[in-house]
Symmetry: C2
Subunit: 324 residues, 2 copies
Amino acid sequence: MYSLSELQKSVADYMNGLDVDGNPHSLYEPIAYSLAAGGKRLRPMLTVLACNIFSDNALSALPAAAALEVFHTFTLLHDDVMDNATVRRGKPSVFGKWGTNAALLSGDAMMIYSYKLLQQTPVEYLPAVLGCFNYTAMTVCEGQQVDMEFEKRSDVTLEEYMSMIDKKTAALLAGATMIGAIQGGADTLSRQHLFSFATELGLAFQLQDDLLDAYGTEAQLGKPIGGDILEGKKSFLMITAFARADAHTRKQLHALLDNHTMAPQEKIDAVLAIYSSLGIREIAEREIGLHFSKAMDALSSLEVDSERVEPLRTLAQSLLGRNK
Amino acid sequence: MYSLSELQKSVADYMNGLDVDGNPHSLYEPIAYSLAAGGKRLRPMLTVLACNIFSDNALSALPAAAALEVFHTFTLLHDDVMDNATVRRGKPSVFGKWGTNAALLSGDAMMIYSYKLLQQTPVEYLPAVLGCFNYTAMTVCEGQQVDMEFEKRSDVTLEEYMSMIDKKTAALLAGATMIGAIQGGADTLSRQHLFSFATELGLAFQLQDDLLDAYGTEAQLGKPIGGDILEGKKSFLMITAFARADAHTRKQLHALLDNHTMAPQEKIDAVLAIYSSLGIREIAEREIGLHFSKAMDALSSLEVDSERVEPLRTLAQSLLGRNK
């Protein structure tokens, strides 16, 4: 069994050691560029940490773990084309730097590259791992499609929103965790607990991202505060505000979102004032806490020595800023 | 062992029987639409025909065969975005009908769907089949990238062009054939012969497509004659013409390609007149014949009863219009 920091080092080394190049170089350069941008490596960490619960050979899950990170990064390349987003994590996105065709084609190559990594999975686990990976990948596409359709609608319900982030965000965390569990040789019941854990963690994680957009710092969020408000995004906060507001306040909110001449900061402040009057921040915090508790409960339901679960628990806590 | 027509029916039935739907329907609709457009189903036919040489269980290769057709159709969705092509086989392309984002995201889902089909490969062949599929898919992306870069260049050599179509077109036919051979249990030497066969067939097939653009009928080509000339595409014919022309004729050709006010038919006729003066048609026909002969020789090198190879040979002959 490995410690959290040992696995963090192994994942970082493995990702940094990936040799992404070929002919023509121009196809591979955007892949290497976007993978080098780094980030928390959350998905591969979930894979090796889940494997680590059941097996002392968690490093055998590194190729599949990397496949999940490569797949995640591929989705960002294509999402940036769809969102017309030229900046990603404070740097030019592949779309911004090389244009639509490069983001499209290098993105495709990147998805194929994730399957090349998956190919290194020990053969006894390959059918189950491939099946889980495919299911997960398709679910992420479904979530992205639903999210795009939300942009054209003003009547998105909270239930629809939770179902969308379940597919777009939580499913990949759940898939990453399941693939680690499979390679660790986990039994069916343990896999179910881990699936619940990662799904709830993913929901809490996305809701926290929504919350930080309004109440975080630019350093925490990695982009300017209030972006969701300015884009009129149907976030958890906005949908809840519309659901809680009386007719007058709802009208005010609509007028704010439709106002394209107002100064950005003024608009953000006006929306935050409405959020404040409706207690939206507290509702969001309560919801995050609820999903986080469910995630922790699912971990506690695993019938293994609690010390084997500790590294995964610690990662989840630090992800949500709930370190002991 | 199955006859050619039996396998054609099995492939058609299998493709028509694919249940491509899910939630949201809008993600899956473009996939079903583009798969229904049909075509020759050349790639899945190569898979089952190659399997049929070595095994009486060629139908077990149907899911992988379908995976190759789905992957091929996926590449068309994304190519149409990159080429800004709103029409495909006389009907609106997915890009033309639903726009960039749908072609992009449903294309992604389609690639994942091809891996879902692959997942049904008998487990003993799965690692080899997945490896071959990944290698092939990446090669096709490389070919597309090189092709896009050719558009910005006027000095593409014939050698570079042949290397590009080897990757963009021939590699997928070779991969389809190899995956069938693997599932038929073919030995290494037989696989090598079949790889040569399909590669040479693919080169002949692409060169014939180039030839038909100038000398075919609209019915054979599936689009108006002369499109490559009007787009200034570096086809086999154009590259060979530039290589064979004297300085004066080369200047004439450049002037024609740079002329954007000339009537389309006039431009096509003028280029064809130059082709004719240089004997380009005959050179192309000789080159096609050469690759086709190599393909047939590779088939003859297989150490199996010749009757087992007959269905594949017949398909190859009819593809190139060389039926006995």
